[in-house]
Symmetry: C2
Subunit: 292 residues, 2 copies
Amino acid sequence: MAPSAPDILLAAVRVVCCQIAPRVGELAYNRRLCAQAIRNAAQDGAQLVVLPELAQSGYVFANKAEALSLAEALDGTTLREWQELAHELNLVLVAGFCELLDGNELSNSAVLIDPTGVRSVYRKAHLWDQEKRFFTPGHASPPVIQTHLGRIGMVICYDLEFPEWVRLVALQGAQLLCVPTNWPDGGHPTGERPSEVVRVQANAAFNRLFIAASGRCGTERDVPWIGGSVIVDCDGYPVAGPLGPDAPGAVWVSLPLNDADNKWVNANNHVLNDRRTDLYPASDTAFPRRSP
Amino acid sequence: MAPSAPDILLAAVRVVCCQIAPRVGELAYNRRLCAQAIRNAAQDGAQLVVLPELAQSGYVFANKAEALSLAEALDGTTLREWQELAHELNLVLVAGFCELLDGNELSNSAVLIDPTGVRSVYRKAHLWDQEKRFFTPGHASPPVIQTHLGRIGMVICYDLEFPEWVRLVALQGAQLLCVPTNWPDGGHPTGERPSEVVRVQANAAFNRLFIAASGRCGTERDVPWIGGSVIVDCDGYPVAGPLGPDAPGAVWVSLPLNDADNKWVNANNHVLNDRRTDLYPASDTAFPRRSP
């Protein structure tokens, strides 16, 4: 039997993770860098593009004042340009930026933009190291957005080290989790994948969803990054990447997002229903309200 | 400054995971196989030995009647022999067996035995595939046992696919999680580690504890196994193994178990304290009582 039209449309979504090297403080440079990466991805057929964490501002802020000077609200220059590009190129964009909140507070945020505009902003809930000096942690659950391509979730970098958080994404029905990230290079044994990538793999397998993580490369104010951009399937195996630390680039693949709706691993095991919520609370027991 | 005596004693614990090929239904053969593996490990200096899941009985039962015929209670022949060996060889043993419960119920269990005898029995809470036909799932939290070597936790095989469960082990202070396992070979891409091993790695890194998983090899009633015996450090990297599917053997390493008490990954991040328990419930919120 031939699949119905919507099945054909959703059969595969071309996802591209762009690994770039933003420069802290150089907003115009970063805008050009991001725009070029998005246009390149679109030329390769991208329907969904993921950019790294804080792609708009760079990462290694000297102090809060510098971070404040680089922050943008949703009507900022970069965010407006990203919306124009998503509209022009008819794609979904997930990207990290330094968000200006009320009262001079800052958030390490990710935005999901589709051709109609900004659909969702996620504010990183688990802050890494010096980020605690600059950012207010998010207080809302990770969003899952119904787009024309499928149901897309967002978390950022260190969030991935909390499997409870990724479980929340899965329980909301995400098919693909997009992860803007900046992974500092903490060293790893020769021949081993960085454990950051291993955690991406395991989170995908635990929940049977796709994960697309876009990392940054280069060195910024003496901090080296691992790159690590990778797209992982529902079994937890990389289907594109991971990239190394040395050069910008991209990883891309066409993903059958509907596969993530099947949580059965055999006739008797369902990775979500098999949770023993009589012995430990479900991650969404105390489901937080989304901030307005 | 010289370390104090207890530090020296606890500086490193020699852990050995024995990868063997039990035969379903051949209790005497399996007893000899386990005894030989334990004695070999002890000759190599083992202080703690891990054997696979259902090492006493084999795994692929034809039906419940067969499983019942192979089950043992804690005073069974194999369990008594294991206690004698642990006493004679002055070691801690963690091993899987088919446990006979009251009323002809069965449990897929693991036992921790130290030189003084049985210290704890764990009953697998997350049952895999056909196990649901044979076994009653466990209803108690995973135990963490204070031994003379350190604080040891136990879970079994498919339990590892539920990071909430491993979190419970970590929250109880385990330094080393011992995992008797039987991983059926579901296939994996060439050049990739089986995702079962990847999940061991991620669970260790999420919680900064050591994990020692002992798998089985060989083919049993047409089910091939991946082996996969591995010992992973608190950063999530293998320090011994993983073994392949083809042959029995062992992996061993001396582990500085005290390292698992340090949950800080830098001056500002602690993998347990950084959980956002205001946004999702802690795994131990509804901490179950241990069954008697």
